[in-house]
């Protein structure tokens, strides 16, 4: 995993160069997700992970939102509570990572955009993928939403809806 991550970074340098030369052709992934407003006595913003799975390939984390501001990187201690993501990808990462780590978000609808070759975002060759979004809330619940995606040359669209910790998740791949 470490190796593949390094490869991504190396690839990113190369791709960034390409992107600079021809920015219009860069593939982008837009993930829009809703964090429901919950009526609970003690609310903490959830940790949210977004990653890409493809059969036979290691999972790729594109985003992890957590307590980034804590001293001594202390927010990382609870990353393993985003349990599905932790096992799929998180435990092999060194965090914080540029373009991957982000601060937690309040309830509401959020759109995150990723550009192929930047941060943790790979270029998605045509094929079948799953975009996974997992939210884990301190003293609260945890939920994973899976969005199956068939990427073609034209891009891809997909959506799914959570029932507790996540609302609607919409995914768009475009070029």
């Amino acid at each position: 995993m470490q190796i593949s991550h390094t490869l991504i970074l190396t690839g990113s340098a190369a791709l960034s160069a390409t992107a600079l030369a021809a920015p219009a052709t860069a593939q982008t992934l837009d993930v829009t997700f809703t964090l429901p407003r919950l009526s609970v006595a003690e609310y903490h913003r959830p940790y949210v992970a977004i990653w890409i799975e493809k059969e036979g390939a290691p999972a790729r984390t594109v985003s992890i939102l957590y307590d980034l501001g804590k001293k001594n990187n202390a927010g990382t201690k609870w990353l393993r509570d985003v349990r599905s993501w932790w096992r799929a990808s998180g435990r092999s990462l060194t965090l914080p990572a540029d373009g991957v780590s982000g601060a937690t978000r309040p309830p509401g609808t959020h759109k995150l955009s990723f550009t192929a070759g930047k941060g943790g975002m790979p270029n998605l060759a045509p094929g079948k993928y799953t975009i996974l979004v997992e939210a884990a809330r301190e003293v609260g619940g945890r939920e994973v939403v899976r969005v199956p995606l068939t990427v073609t040359a034209a891009g891809a669209k997909g959506s799914a809806t959570g029932s507790a910790e996540l609302g609607a998740v919409n995914v768009v791949v475009s070029r």
């Binding site: 201690k77 609870w78 393993r80 932790w86 096992r87 435990r91 092999s92």
Partner: protein
């Protein structure tokens, strides 16, 4: 249950082995968690106990010496080790990235000897270290066998590693095909078991999820090791599981092939009360070594 064993021992030379497998409660460890972030300053705490139900404290606490192996193979000292009335507990500093093994190994010596024309049993709790003093002067025809019990659990900081699984070649041991910290609900895990370093074929494997007290069905998963000593288990639910393997017919009715410590030796004697199975006891042979392995693993949901 304890009473059965005492009775069996009192029953004398007819039974060369105490009935560890059938009458004994289950030995286990319970880790506070199995997945660590790997920040370098985390703590694991472990409960260790024997009990009838998993994972509850309902038998006397055991004074067990845990051996903790760090990802680099070094031995980590357990801290704050306490033996309570119903359990033992200890802390483990998780400072390195990779997988840790927490193991407790017990070797008991069972057997008998002739003294003044009478066959006497070795006292309960005899170990290889105390055997010499347990056999009095003048004893003849000393017959002994060892019962090796190994219980283990595993935790990983960051990515799991496999350095701690080097087998020692003694007793029953587990070598993962699927890392024990990679068990996931709905997926299959494969483990290989070795007996004295060789594949332990055709042994019964049982897996039981914790929380027994709150369900009526034990939901025990039964499987058997293949010729390579491998077994594949598919996890129906997330949670902590106790996975146990034993030579010589563990719990459960109707393992037909008996053998030392099997149903013949294991069934409580009729005077044990109510559970007499009427199976004729096989003729007594010399005591035989036996081995038990049990691990606690967390199945991720």
């Amino acid at each position: 249950m304890k009473m059965f064993r005492t009775l069996l021992l009192a029953a004398g030379a007819a039974l060369a082995l105490p009935t560890m497998a059938d009458a004994a409660p289950r030995p286990w460890m319970l880790p506070s968690e199995t997945m660590f972030a790997g920040t370098g300053n985390e703590w694991l705490t472990v409960d260790a106990a024997i009990s009838s139900d998993l994972f509850y404290f309902d038998h006397p606490g055991q004074n067990w010496e845990p051996v903790i192996t760090a990802p680099d193979g070094s031995v980590v000292e357990a801290q704050n080790r306490t033996v309570g009335k119903l359990r033992e507990t200890f802390d483990v500093p998780v400072t390195a990235k990779g997988s840790y093994k927490i193991a407790i190994t017990n070797v008991m010596v069972m057997g008998s000897f002739m003294l003044n024309g009478e066959r006497k049993m070795l006292p309960r709790g005899t170990t290889p270290a105390t055997l010499a003093t347990a056999v009095p002067q003048g004893a003849t025809d000393v017959q002994t066998a060892q019962a090796t019990t190994r219980i283990e659990t595993f935790v990983s900081a960051g990515e799991p590693t496999t350095t701690v699984f080097k087998p020692t070649g003694k007793g029953l041991e587990m070598v993962p095909v699927t890392h024990p910290n990679d068990a996931v609900v709905g997926e299959a895990s494969t483990f290989q078991f070795l007996l004295n370093g060789k594949p332990a074929a055709d042994l019964d494997v049982t897996a039981i999820a914790g929380g027994v007290r709150y369900r009526q069905d034990l939901k025990q998963i039964d499987a058997k090791t293949d010729a390579q000593g491998k077994v594949t288990l598919t996890w129906p639910d997330a949670g902590m599981y106790w996975v146990s393997v034993s030579t010589g017919g563990r719990r459960g009715p109707g393992s037909p092939e008996g053998g030392p410590g099997g149903p013949g030796a294991g069934a409580p004697a009729p005077q044990g009360g109510g559970e007499g199975q009427g199976t004729p006891r096989p003729p007594m042979g010399p005591p035989q070594d036996r081995a038990t392995y049990a691990m606690t693993i967390e199945v991720q949901g």
